[in-house]
């Protein structure tokens, strides 16, 4: 008996004119690991929510979903809650209680378990998830990754048979995301719990999954084993899904059209095995990729210079920045990497003027920013925070933008606003509430709010977090456009693949100081961990290759 | 519990409270008496809250509004005399009604005291903020409260009333002779604080009440509370 039998399901929200889901049919077997993909707004979340009765949204539903042979509506209330677990995207929003312990037992308390029963289950859970050290901590002292583990553990406390996960790692840094996914794979392997997960960051998940479901405009476009789905996407040259594929698979599909009957490599290990076998076809002699950056050698004009910055949040707290020096050149796109809590965001906020260093100076075009006027600084330097929600105070996008325009007064103009709105293609959402538009659109609005002041330096704090590959591409194009207009960009990020494709220079912040600053190519080439999967796969054969394109160029045709 | 048993239980509880109150009154133990009375005044609200069936959304709405009221001082840290909590409670009550208003106010008081330290003032604060919410909620459909003037008068009066009630807790027990002079001088002493409270209420109401009501009304429909009892 299938775990889930989805039969011709359509769904329409009361406030929408179009159907969010259209004629979806699929079967999910017990113990399967199903990966749900699609751009934001394609109906992933809505579909996931249809699979659990308690969180089905209000609206018109057609078709039927069977859970273990029974229509979902007829499943007993208790077993529906216990057997079907759900983890949502934002780690903070789904936590209800004040401490880890309380949160772990929340679900069990709701279902009326006895005290001794709960204590025993928590005892087991804490071991499996390795959370002994923070069991009694209040939630706000945990990192994002830890919070998401608590959410997963709280659901696992009920011993579910199926786990539904809605982009659970979108808000996590790469290390925490990997840990989370490994745990999912263990849960799937060791307990044969069925997993249905929607994700944008699929490189790590494809190797685990047994089924891929691709959604577009609320319809299933592809469905099947990862191998067959990837082949179908490639043969259809479906550009809306190709960016989702792991880069090694993209490389494989790009170069290898031979009908050899093998699976598409999805991990570095498989990729290496495959490429070693075809080593002879790679042109390793003349690495044309290493064309030197255009302005290497000549004196670059420095726009912003951080001079020996020291910073700590509290007198007794450890130093976040220790003698940090960094110089940003005019016109470049600089990507700043660093682990969690390494001080990247702190540095960005100091440059933006939200924090003041205890020692050191920040020079902008040769003049000290710390002694200059705050207004002047806020016009020259734009800062886009991670979360666009922070910018919204008005009822519509239009009002929000007009409010900003009014506040800027002489420093901007309606013409500039109109131009930006047109270039960013947001005309059709101007009269919507800022909370009713998608994450990518919200980010665009936040960007426009900042760009209205025509800053010369744009600071971005993890702009690609939680974006689907298509929105990332759109963002990259917008950033290119902004840069072409003369704005310098400094980005803090975890997204190495994004930086590899678009940044001109990269730096690594560690232990409060810059430990490496190089142009993107040499930076990624010299790194071992902080580099692209392509480089890790082919690095020893083609030391200069960091993107699929680089390898493709060297492929003997 | 059987009906008889429950009636007996509550009846004897009520009788015990009355006896206790009489004893305290006769012996002039006004301070414990005042705490007893404050507790009794809030009891019905909490009994109702405990017994009503409520959606998860309603519980979260009250918790979130209470938390917002409790932290609303943070952005005004450079201005020590500005006090937006009462404004937040009032706005919540105007949109969601007297019961939610009371709960938001009294929970905000408990929670902010958990962070700042509980004291004998906690029940009084719960009562005062609760009552701001309750009265605002009761009056919300009157023409008086619909007008900006009415809201301003309401906020201004509560600014003073709040301070006056809060003075009560130690005045009642501490002076041997409760004369008007004692009250008057306590109120003169706290006049500046009460005025600042009243004026910041007026400032917030006259400039921001329209936006707040709009935001909260949107929330009300999003939470699906338009046709529930809360509406």
């Amino acid at each position: 008996m299938a775990h889930y039998q989805i039969e011709n399901v359509s769904f329409q929200y009361p406030s929408c004119s179009d159907k969010t889901l259209q004629h979806i049919s699929a079967t999910i077997e017990e113990g399967e690991f199903v990966l749900l993909c699609g751009s934001s707004g394609s109906g992933k979340t809505t579909l996931l929510r249809q699979l659990k009765r308690e969180i089905r949204p209000e609206g018109i539903r057609n078709g039927e979903i069977y859970y273990r042979g029974l229509p979902l509506d007829q499943v007993d209330e208790r077993s529906s809650i216990e057997e079907i677990g759900m983890v949502f995207q934002d780690p903070d929003n789904q936590i209800v209680m004040n401490t880890v312990w309380q949160e772990l037992t929340f679900a069990m308390e709701n279902l009326g378990y006895s005290t001794s029963h709960m204590q025993r289950r928590v005892g087991e859970l804490v071991q499996f998830f390795g959370m002994e050290d923070w069991l009694y901590l209040p939630i706000h002292e945990l990192s994002g990754g830890q919070k998401q583990l608590v959410n997963l553990a709280s659901v696992m406390a009920l011993r579910p048979k199926v786990l539904l996960l809605d982009e659970p790692t979108a808000q996590l840094d790469p290390i925490a995301a990997k840990e989370f996914i490994q745990l999912l794979s263990r849960i799937n392997e060791e307990f044969s719990i069925t997993i249905v997960i929607s994700e944008h960051r699929i490189e790590e998940i494809v190797p685990l999954s047994s089924k891929l479901v691709m959604l577009r405009h609320g319809q299933v476009v592809y469905c099947g084993s990862p191998n067959s789905v990837m082949k179908q996407i490639w043969s259809a040259r479906d550009s809306s899904f190709i960016p989702y594929l792991p880069s090694i698979s993209q490389l494989y599909l790009e170069v290898d059209h031979s009908e050899e009957n093998r699976d598409i490599p999805v991990s570095v290990k498989e990729g290496r095995k495959w490429i070693q076998a075809h080593r002879d076809r790679l042109n390793t002699h003349e690495e044309a990729v290493s064309a030197p950056p255009a302005n290497e050698g000549q004196q670059l004009e420095s726009l912003l210079t951080c001079k020996e910055l020291y910073f700590t949040y509290d007198k007794k707290a450890p130093l976040v920045l220790k003698r940090l020096s960094l110089s940003i050149h005019k016109g470049e796109f600089f990507a700043l990497f660093g682990g969690n809590g390494s001080g990247k965001s702190t540095l960005l906020q100091q440059i933006a003027g939200a924090l003041t260093p205890q020692r050191g100076d920040i020079l902008y075009a040769g003049k000290s920013l710390l002694r200059g006027s705050a207004l002047d600084r806020s016009l020259k330097i734009g800062y886009v925070a991670q979360n666009p929600m922070l910018y919204f105070t008005r009822d519509t996008v239009r009002e929000q933008l007009t409010d900003r325009l009014k506040r800027l007064g002489e420093h901007s103009s309606r013409a500039r606003l109109n131009e930006l709105v047109e270039r960013f293609e947001i005309e059709d959402i101007m009269d919507k509430h800022p909370f009713d538009i998608s994450g990518g659109q919200q980010q665009k609005v936040a960007l426009i709010l900042v760009l209205l002041a025509a800053p010369e330096l744009l600071l971005l704090d993890e702009p690609t977090k939680g974006l689907d590959p298509i929105s990332k591409h759109t963002l990259a194009e917008l950033l290119e456009m902004i840069r072409a207009a003369g704005t310098t960009i400094l980005m803090v990020s975890h997204d190495i693949e994004f930086a590899a494709s678009y940044a001109t220079r990269c730096g690594l912040l560690f232990d409060g100081a810059m430990v490496a600053v190089e142009d993107t190519r040499s930076f990624l080439r010299n790194n071992y961990f902080y580099t692209t999967t392509i480089h890790r796969t082919v690095g020893d054969i083609l030391p200069a290759a960091i993107t699929v394109k680089d390898v493709w160029k060297q492929w003997g045709k | 519990m059987g009906k008889m048993k429950r009636m007996l239980y509550f009846g004897s509880l009520a009788a015990a409270i009355v006896v206790l109150a009489v004893v305290l009154w006769m012996d002039k133990y006004y301070m414990p008496l005042s705490f007893l009375m404050i507790g009794l005044a809030m009891l019905p609200f909490y009994i109702r809250f405990e017994r009503k069936t409520m959606k998860a959304e309603e519980i979260l709405l009250i918790a979130m509004l209470g938390a917002i009221a409790a932290v609303s001082r943070v952005p005004f840290a450079p201005l020590p005399s500005v006090q937006p909590t009462s404004f937040v409670i009032m706005m919540s009550a105007l949109v969601f009604g007297p019961e939610v208003g009371f709960l938001v106010g009294s929970i905000a008081a408990v929670v902010s005291n958990i962070f700042l330290g509980q004291g004998p003032w906690t029940p009084w604060q719960m009562f005062c903020w609760g009552m701001i919410g309750f009265t605002a909620g009761l009056l919300r459909n009157t023409r008086f409260m619909k007008s900006l003037w009415g809201k301003n008068i309401f906020g201004f009066s509560w600014g003073f009333l709040f301070g006056w009630i809060m003075n009560l807790w130690f005045l009642i027990g501490m002076y041997d002779h409760l004369s008007w002079k004692v009250f008057a001088s306590a109120y003169v002493a706290s006049f500046y604080f009460d005025l600042a409270h009243a004026l910041s209420n007026v400032f917030f109401i006259s400039i921001f009440s329209a936006i707040w009501l709009k935001i909260l009304l949107r929330v009300k429909s999003k939470y699906g509370l338009l046709d529930s009892e809360l509406a």
Binding site: L390 | M64, I68, S72, S179
Partner: protein, 295 residues
């Protein structure tokens, strides 16, 4: 924090403070008040070395002094006139009354300092859960939101500062406006996000039946012993209180201290009661000293 009194069963801790506070409010006998003050100060010292006490004591002393000074100015009751201020008689009785009540207020305030150290929010909620489960639950949720909202507020203010809206030299009106803008963003954003929290609550079965509690504090042997000591001494305090052994008359004429055997018995019971936590903490402290000296 020492694992003495604080590890006692929460109900007993709470009962201790309830009786102590009631005694502070009701007993005006000077010997009682002074002993209570000593007891509370020592309790505070034994709990955290007096750190919390140090923080609050200045303000509390000021309040106490104001009451002490102002009572004779407002009240001219009493028979022993000491002198005149602004043509008003100042009596010995009204000064004594002011002193006694200032002391009793100080006792209440300081007892709350110790209360906050012992009755942590978790214990408070544990106590509340059986009586008012939903109230306890909503307080827990609110407690969880407060640090979250504070962090969000800080993020929003960072953005406002960077956009050039918040500058340190702005006038008051401007700061108030911007402060409200911060709250607008916070309230619409957080209430929007709380809808997800509601889903997550329902997904995990909130509201389908009666909730149980995962926390249990069974009474151990020490708890039972302390319980009986509290019952015996407490009963004595109540009985004595009802018979008025510890009454102290201020008006119309200040009473002199009379030491009757009943008062002694009653006082000793009261002392034992007040010093329960101090003895417990002291015992713990001694235990650790001997352990350390043996190592």
């Amino acid at each position: 924090m020492i694992h003495g009194f604080s590890t006692l069963h929460p109900r007993l801790c709470f009962a201790y403070f309830a009786v102590l506070l009631l005694a502070c409010m009701m007993y005006t006998h000077p010997v009682y008040s002074v002993l209570t003050l000593i007891g509370i100060v020592v309790l505070n010292l034994s709990l955290d070395g007096g750190r919390a006490l140090k923080k609050g004591i200045k303000g509390y002393l000021i309040i106490a002094i104001i009451i002490f000074v102002s009572n004779p100015l407002f009240s001219s009751r009493g028979a022993t006139i000491l002198g005149y201020v602004f043509d008003r008689p100042i009596t010995l009785e009204s000064i004594a009354y002011g002193a006694l009540f200032a002391l009793s207020l100080l006792n209440i305030l300081l007892a709350f300092v110790a209360y906050n150290l012992v009755i942590t929010p978790e214990k408070l909620l544990y106590l509340l859960t059986p009586i008012a489960p939903r109230t306890a639950f909503i307080i827990t949720v609110t407690l969880r939101f407060v640090p979250l909202l504070t962090r969000r507020l800080k993020q929003i203010m960072t953005v406002q500062r960077v956009l050039g809206y918040l500058h340190p030299r702005a006038n008051k009106r401007h700061l108030m406006r911007e402060g409200m803008e911060t709250l607008h963003t916070l309230i619409s954003w957080s209430l929007e996000e709380a809808l997800q929290t509601a889903s997550s609550m329902r997904a995990r079965g909130y509201g389908i039946g009666k909730r149980t509690s995962s926390v249990s504090y069974p009474m151990d042997r020490r708890d039972i012993l302390v319980f009986w000591i509290m019952v015996v001494t407490g009963a004595n305090i109540v009985i004595g209180g009802l018979f008025g052994v510890n009454r102290f008359q201020v008006y119309p004429r200040l009473q002199s201290l009379e030491w009757s055997p009943q008062l002694w018995l009653h006082l000793i019971c009261y002392l034992i009661f007040v010093f329960i936590p101090i003895v417990m903490n002291g015992k713990e402290e001694l235990l650790w000293r001997t352990i350390k000296s043996k190592m």
